[in-house]
Subunit: 309 residues, 3 copies
Amino acid sequence: MPECRENGWKKEDLSQIIAKLEDSYNSHKGINHVDGLNIPTSESIHEIIKDLFALVFPGFFGKIQITTSSINYYAGNLLDSLYGKLSEQIKRALKYRCTLENCCNCQCADRAGSLAAFLLESLPEIRRLITLDVEAAFDGDPAARSVDEVILSYPFTKAITVHRLAHVLYKKDIPLIPRMMSEWAHGVTGIDIHSGAAIGESFFIDHGTGVVIGETCEIGNHVKLYQGVTLGALSFSKDEKGRLIKGEKRHPTLLDDVTVYANATILGGKTIIGKGAVIGGNTWVTESVDDYTKVSIGKPDLIFHRKKA
Amino acid sequence: MPECRENGWKKEDLSQIIAKLEDSYNSHKGINHVDGLNIPTSESIHEIIKDLFALVFPGFFGKIQITTSSINYYAGNLLDSLYGKLSEQIKRALKYRCTLENCCNCQCADRAGSLAAFLLESLPEIRRLITLDVEAAFDGDPAARSVDEVILSYPFTKAITVHRLAHVLYKKDIPLIPRMMSEWAHGVTGIDIHSGAAIGESFFIDHGTGVVIGETCEIGNHVKLYQGVTLGALSFSKDEKGRLIKGEKRHPTLLDDVTVYANATILGGKTIIGKGAVIGGNTWVTESVDDYTKVSIGKPDLIFHRKKA
Amino acid sequence: MPECRENGWKKEDLSQIIAKLEDSYNSHKGINHVDGLNIPTSESIHEIIKDLFALVFPGFFGKIQITTSSINYYAGNLLDSLYGKLSEQIKRALKYRCTLENCCNCQCADRAGSLAAFLLESLPEIRRLITLDVEAAFDGDPAARSVDEVILSYPFTKAITVHRLAHVLYKKDIPLIPRMMSEWAHGVTGIDIHSGAAIGESFFIDHGTGVVIGETCEIGNHVKLYQGVTLGALSFSKDEKGRLIKGEKRHPTLLDDVTVYANATILGGKTIIGKGAVIGGNTWVTESVDDYTKVSIGKPDLIFHRKKA
């Protein structure tokens, strides 16, 4: 890097910096999009998430109070503007992939509208699932005072709502946007759920910071996780050129009624945690576990050393 | 979920989506507040937190520079507007509970004003505690260059400030707001302190991501925690119907001068960590530890396998 | 704390609260800057980070689309305003230290301009490094669909970009600002990299929540970390008065091509992880590891207990 020319620098020298930066934009093109596509923007995706929350939880998020007589107007207004924003961002994402793949007959704009509508049509079903999730949270946490408290203040509510929305777009094979959505939730909650993970009904994650749920996880109904749980990959397959193979099932399956306590690690695409199993805190599990089995660490090998008072 | 009708979708179909969404608002009422109460809003709680930071740390947060001659005006102005915002949100929280409990003679508005004033009157005492906390952070972290750096950049400062404020409201039994405040801090810092936890003087958490401090924890003076420490529950008592019993002491007690290193887990309402004890990293502690005792994991059972270079 | 005078409180009593708060500003000066310096503000530092992202990743962040013909204008405009903001904040940081150290001949304003220019001149080199980092992320994560996805949605991109920028300012010994920058990234990503850590080329952290990289870490090229990894201090040296000694090498060294899996802990300033070594998940490493050695936990001592179905 250049020496720091302390005290001798003048603002006019900015033009040299600009010139060098332009060189950099030419020599390291991979991280800029000059003359590039209109890719989806983080700002728009965050706006869309905010609008979706206002539709999923009317009266909880957003500043407007809602009454029976106004709800039609409220939802219609929001849906209408959201439809436009969603279509635009999905169109950008589809065009982005088409350009990469030299496909030019993809009718991106038409498909984007249909896909945006598909997500909006899915909202009643998503609301049904989220109702079950927040009830599971209330039932599963002794500190929860009410379902309202769960909705207003639990990071889990944000994480699972974004996941259920992003997963719909993931299954429709829309590029970029599902991951941008889930990483927004990850940043806000510390809970990292890949938008590809298939999660059953009445799910709950308590506390949540540090949880990682990999792309190819399959999770049954009534599953409960605590902070720091990793549902991850054991190892990655490589092709003959030593490159990682993408798309295999790399992450575990959890059947119905499984509970996984804090900081447990469960790894591997062939690992199946049986129905009703309980995985204790701090465990390291890389093989399948039978139904209704409780797994815990042995009496930990701790050393007690008495200091002078 | 509905099939994706690609290419065939028209924007006019939005009215059908609106109709279905309205059905959903009727069939899954638990997650909306149509015709409901004015519950506290996240936006207002965040504004209140911002104002409280400006009052606790004048000259550090907020864009205004403060002088001896302006401080009276500055604090008065802020306090006045904050009093209004706080009263309104507390009133909403109290009315919310009254409605749930069919109580109608609670004088919510009057009580809300008094409770808001109570928090503001507590600010000098809270500032005294926070001064001790940031000094403990400076003394306890070799990377800290100054107390100012601790205030300006340590996530701990945000977490403990919000906790000391939220805990005052928690002890006054105000619903919803204390938890909304602590979850704001959790989201911003990765440190999850339940507003119910009782924390002594000169506390410090270094790094902090993943720390969980449960509702019924009791923590003495001069206690220091590192990232990933869980002070959690061992198991939950259930009533005769199998529902979790809420309100018991479920989380540990740490006496004065305890240090807990990274990723240690201490569980159970009857677990007491004695004065001056040091709990080593990665330990799993579910029983009480004597005063002045150092607990560490044994020599870990590691396997070393030499690969080809 | 004062008793809560429920129902009896009047808004006029605010003047008493203001008076007590003023007393507090006098008695606990450590956490306010009345009549103090203009220290750097979080808001300005965040604005600066946003502008730097727009310069490093044009077309990815910010709302403006960029073309070959507009890039000169775009970069020039941004650089010009950024130069002003950076100079001002660096000047505040330098003056802050000068005042503490009673130095009055430091030409802070001149030096600040040169240091701001130095960071801007470093941008091409920083862009080269970040290009390698995002390529390492794409190569190292089977879930990554494209480099664009890595830039748009991986928390690692935010964390390493801020680190590479903050590290330049750290090496120039600018107070407060580097740490404020890295703590912004910590808050947003859960990845806590001290701005002092020296990190080689083609670095990658997957998932990232809970990662801690200490101030005196030295990390080679092509190193890959997973979530929850701590590269920390083993113990702190104290001086004859029992105060922590600041400035020693307290954190480990990782040579080229090292991989560290989730939730591993590596501690100590003398601990060197050899070239090509692989540190398994959940390990606890406090001594050096030879080149090309794989370290893993032994078969964990788990207890399987079959419950009634």
